[in-house]
C-alpha cells in the first residue's frame, strides 16, 4: 500500500480537513466526483489510476461505496489512522446536519406549517428517487454494452425493486451467475 511518494503525503490534519471539505460540498449523489476533484485534481495526493483502482475496489466491497473509497484513500496515504481521519472528515458535517434536520422533522409533525414542509419534502423525495434511477442510467450507458450484462442488471433490478425479493437472496443467486457468465464470456 506504500506506493505514494512521501512528499505528497498529507498530514492527518490535512487529510481530515480535505475530507471535511468533500463532505460539506457533495449534495445529492455527486460524492465520487467530489472525492476525485479534491484528492486527485486539487491536492494531487493520488493520480487517476490509483483513484480508479480504489473506486473499483469500493464497488466490490459491500457497504457505502464512498465511505469505502475514503477508507481506501486514507489507508493508502496514512495507514489505519489515515483511514479513520478520512471517514471522520467525510461524515462529520453531514452527521451534524442530518441530526439537526432530523430533529426538526421529528418535531415538525405537530407544528403549524408542517403540511407545506411535508409537501415540499414529497417533491424532494420524488427527485431523490430520480437521482438513483438516473445514476443507474448513467452507469448503464458507461458499462453495459452487451446483452448478457443487461439481462443480469434487469433481473437484479426487477427481482428486488418490483418483485420484492430480499437483497441477500438475489445476491446469493446473481453474483455466482454473473461471475460464471463473465468467465464463460472470456473463454470464447
Amino acid at each position: 500500500m506504500d506506493s505514494v511518494p512521501t512528499q505528497h503525503r498529507p498530514s492527518l490534519a490535512a487529510l481530515f480537513l480535505g475530507f471535511v471539505r468533500i463532505g460539506m460540498m457533495s449534495f445529492g449523489g455527486g460524492l465520487t466526483a467530489w472525492i476525485r476533484r479534491e484528492v486527485v485534481l486539487r491536492r494531487g495526493w493520488l493520480d487517476d489510476q490509483q483513484f480508479l483502482s480504489g473506486y473499483a475496489l469500493s464497488q466490490l466491497v459491500p457497504g457505502a461505496s464512498n465511505v469505502n473509497l475514503s477508507v481506501f484513500i486514507g489507508a493508502q496515504l496514512r495507514g489505519v489512522p489515515g483511514a479513520l481521519a478520512a471517514v471522520a472528515g467525510l461524515t462529520a458535517v453531514p452527521i451534524a446536519i442530518v441530526l439537526t434536520v432530523g430533529t426538526i422533522y421529528l418535531h415538525a409533525h405537530t407544528m403549524p406549517g408542517s403540511a407545506a414542509f411535508s409537501t415540499a419534502l414529497t417533491g424532494v423525495g420524488a427527485v431523490a428517487i430520480g437521482l438513483n434511477l438516473g445514476t443507474g442510467i448513467q452507469l448503464g450507458r458507461l458499462h453495459l454494452h452487451r446483452i448478457v450484462p443487461v439481462a443480469v442488471t434487469t433481473i437484479v433490478a426487477l427481482g428486488i425493486g418490483v418483485l420484492g425479493f430480499r437483497l441477500l437472496h438475489v445476491l446469493a443467486v446473481m453474483l455466482p451467475v454473473s461471475l460464471l457468465l463473465a468467465w464463460l464470456g472470456r473463454r470464447q
Binding site: V98, V101, G123, V124, V127, T154, I160, L175
Partner: protein, 174 residues
C-alpha cells in the same frame, strides 16, 4: 431501549456486510425492517427521511442515522451509524491490502466485470422499491421521471433538481 439499540446494531451491521453496489441497494431491506418488521416509522416517514438524507451532503446512507434517531434518539443514530459503516470499512481496509497487490491479476478483472451489472441493477432496484413503497400521486411520479431524465442526460447540479422538486411539489400540491 437496549433492545432497540441491539436491533439497530444487528440490522445495520448485517446490511453493512451485504450492501454490494453501495448503500442504496439496502434501502428496500431497511424499509422492510424499519416499517414492516419493527414499526419504528411509517412508509411515508421513511420516504421523508430518505428525502432529508438526500438533501444533506455526504454519503447517501446517512438515512441510517435518521432511522436510528427515530427508533432510539441520538444514541440510536450513533449505533446505526457505527453498525452501517464500521464492519464494511474494516472489510474495505483488509481487502484494499490484497487489492493493491493484484493490480494485474486476471481474477481482479473478472470480479470487476461480474460485479458491474449487479451493482447497476441494485441502483435501479432502490429507486423502483422506493416508488413502490410510497403512495404517490401522478405529480410525484412525473417529478421522479423528469428528475431521472434530467440527471441522466444533462449536467444540471443535483441541488437544483432537489430544489426544483420541492418548488414543483408546492405548486401542484403534492
Amino acid at each position: 431501549m437496549i433492545a432497540t439499540l441491539l436491533q439497530l446494531a444487528l440490522l445495520f451491521g448485517g446490511l453493512s456486510l451485504i450492501a454490494f453496489g453501495g448503500g442504496a441497494g439496502t434501502l428496500p431491506d431497511m424499509q422492510r425492517a424499519a416499517v414492516d418488521v419493527h414499526h419504528w416509522i411509517t412508509a411515508h416517514e421513511f420516504l421523508d427521511l430518505f428525502a432529508i438524507s438526500r438533501t444533506t451532503p455526504g454519503p447517501g446512507s446517512m438515512i441510517v442515522v435518521l432511522i436510528g434517531q427515530s427508533a432510539a434518539g441520538v444514541m440510536g443514530g450513533a449505533v446505526a451509524f457505527l453498525g452501517m459503516f464500521g464492519p464494511s470499512s474494516v472489510l474495505a481496509y483488509v481487502v484494499g491490502r490484497f487489492w493493491h497487490r493484484a493490480a494485474h491479476a486476471s481474477w481482479r478483472a473478472l470480479l470487476e466485470q461480474a460485479l458491474a451489472p449487479v451493482a447497476i441493477g441494485l441502483t435501479f432496484a432502490s429507486g423502483l422499491a422506493l416508488m413502490r413503497g410510497t403512495e404517490h400521486g401522478w405529480p410525484a411520479y412525473t417529478i421522479t421521471i423528469a428528475a431521472t431524465l434530467a440527471f441522466a442526460f444533462t449536467r444540471l447540479h443535483p441541488v437544483f433538481l432537489l430544489a426544483g422538486g420541492a418548488v414543483l411539489s408546492l405548486l401542484v400540491g403534492g
